[in-house]
Symmetry: C2
Amino acid sequence: MEEHRHITIYDIAEKLNLATSTISRALKDHPSISDKTIKKVKKTAEEMGFVPNTLAAGLRGNKTKTIGVLIPTITQPFLSSLISGIEITARKSDYSVVIMQSHDSYNDEVNMARSLFKSRVSGVICSLAMETKNTSHFDQFSANNVPLVFVDRVPKGYNTFRVVIDNYAAAYKAVKHLIDQGCKRIAHITTGSEFGHLYNERKRGYIDAITEHGLTLDDNLIITLKTMTYEEGVRASNKLFDLKPIPDGLFAPGDLLAVSAVQTAKKRGIKVPEDFAVIGFNNDPISEIIEPNISTITHPAEKMGSAAASIIIDNIEKRREDEAKEITFLNTEVLIRESSKKL
Amino acid sequence: MEEHRHITIYDIAEKLNLATSTISRALKDHPSISDKTIKKVKKTAEEMGFVPNTLAAGLRGNKTKTIGVLIPTITQPFLSSLISGIEITARKSDYSVVIMQSHDSYNDEVNMARSLFKSRVSGVICSLAMETKNTSHFDQFSANNVPLVFVDRVPKGYNTFRVVIDNYAAAYKAVKHLIDQGCKRIAHITTGSEFGHLYNERKRGYIDAITEHGLTLDDNLIITLKTMTYEEGVRASNKLFDLKPIPDGLFAPGDLLAVSAVQTAKKRGIKVPEDFAVIGFNNDPISEIIEPNISTITHPAEKMGSAAASIIIDNIEKRREDEAKEITFLNTEVLIRESSKKL
DNA sequence: TAAAATAATGCAACCGATTGTGTAAAGAAA
DNA sequence: TTTCTTTACACAATCGGTTGCATTATTTTA
């Protein structure tokens, strides 16, 4: 295991009595280099164990073939699938993926954005931290022509690419499904977030579905949580089950919450779905394992990651015009399983 | 959103009538620069919006402050927690983390290792692909003094850092616990892997615990699976439940398998833990949500990631001697929950 | 066969920060 | 005041590919 210096194109050039420019071009099949030379150079490079130095190339060309990913956390099924999609797509075009977790902290997000910028990433994919209200820390990317794609948790009124689902429509579909199953008093769990936010959109979908189908909106059936943890879900569920006539349905904007509701119901002897139908959101792995397994809304995490990565790459390679920062909507579907199937 | 060229130390140097070397040193508080100059330089850099170019620094110093992570997939709770630990620790020392997924493919792993090497990562953390028998594709790192840490799925007889748990001991403890609960015919699910592999170590622990406590080893109680999916787990469980006297306990080397067994048991009217006690492995989130919740072995994923990252960083910053490529063992504990509590 | 056109390769600047060495300026000791 | 130290900064090479332009070799056309 002796340490040996990296082989460079200079070494190859010297050995073959050629110029480094020729080596550089030969290695990437430049048309102005003869086939004979190309073959010879590649063979020698191989023999000498040449490994191109990405840094040098990146410095010269000011592009790093690296995508920065800035998300709240990677230990959530949705987000880890998202990254998986990004990574797979990036890799196909030989891009690397660097990950940073904001842990939903605004300050961390700001610092990490800076850090990504410093490392000259070729593009950035971001799902905003919960705390983030202001997105000016992303201006550095736009100002320097670094493609930026927001995914899932996107800012409003910021002119960049966005890859999202239609949260309003998805929520509407979910609630509509419960109504179709005969539910009359449908509860909802949400989180206090400003207008336009994903959870707010879902809430809007819930409200509209209720009112547009002749049901009455009951504020007592809407529980607002600060954090969407399992424990909080249990608290919320208990609150709902303490109501005089308990609700007969629940639209939870996340599967973990749905699970907590189902389990709390079971503990209190409330039958799911007969007495209490539940539909979640995301199609997390757990939703199909729990018993009864949970109806949910599919959330194409991996596809979203893939789409985001494609936008970045196409934009860099200029296969796509970068005039319009369009929004990409991906499809969601109602996945009916046991927890909501009354009929 | 006009595009503006990046500000460099040359720009600062020109503005202040100083040499770039002075700027460079001033920015990092070099002792040979006067405080006055340092202050002036930093202020100007700030004003001009200077962002250091990591690439240039990396090229010059041949170090990138980047840790490459090469793992089978990130969508497994254990591995995403591992990455989380790596990222958090790396970030504290201002290191970036690039992720690649081998998807348990040997070829992908080889290519990705190359790719990481090309991008001159400062260190590599790897959990081996299932397919991987041969680790020569990691020689390039050792040969060039790039610290390499294997985590969890580590190769045998390869002189690098390793961060692992004692799989043998953990399995032994798990089975011992079942025995303590009164189990006599304990089943085990495993996968066909060579000697020294993690699953094999767990199997060894299982076998020794059985034999050393006066129980008889029964080959029919050991099911070997190709892949450790939920569906395969159901198949394995059904096989076990088809035996004349069914086993009265199961040590599953993963929580998903344990869950599949518990649920299959319930479907067949077998009571858990009364008729069939189950203990899993990893302490995946699902294990404490499922009902009955599953006893398991804690697997300190995030700590392992943290430890691995620390080894890399300490090694680079030479805070640690890099002579001995020691093995770091992290603790595991038996987490007793409902699925195994007979007493 | 000379001139023109094309192909193949070389030269050298460049990307931006780092750092060993050299030098001028300022202060201390003689 | 002169000499010796420090202190503070400048010079210039370096990391390793990349690329515009110049030059030489080869082939085609006149």
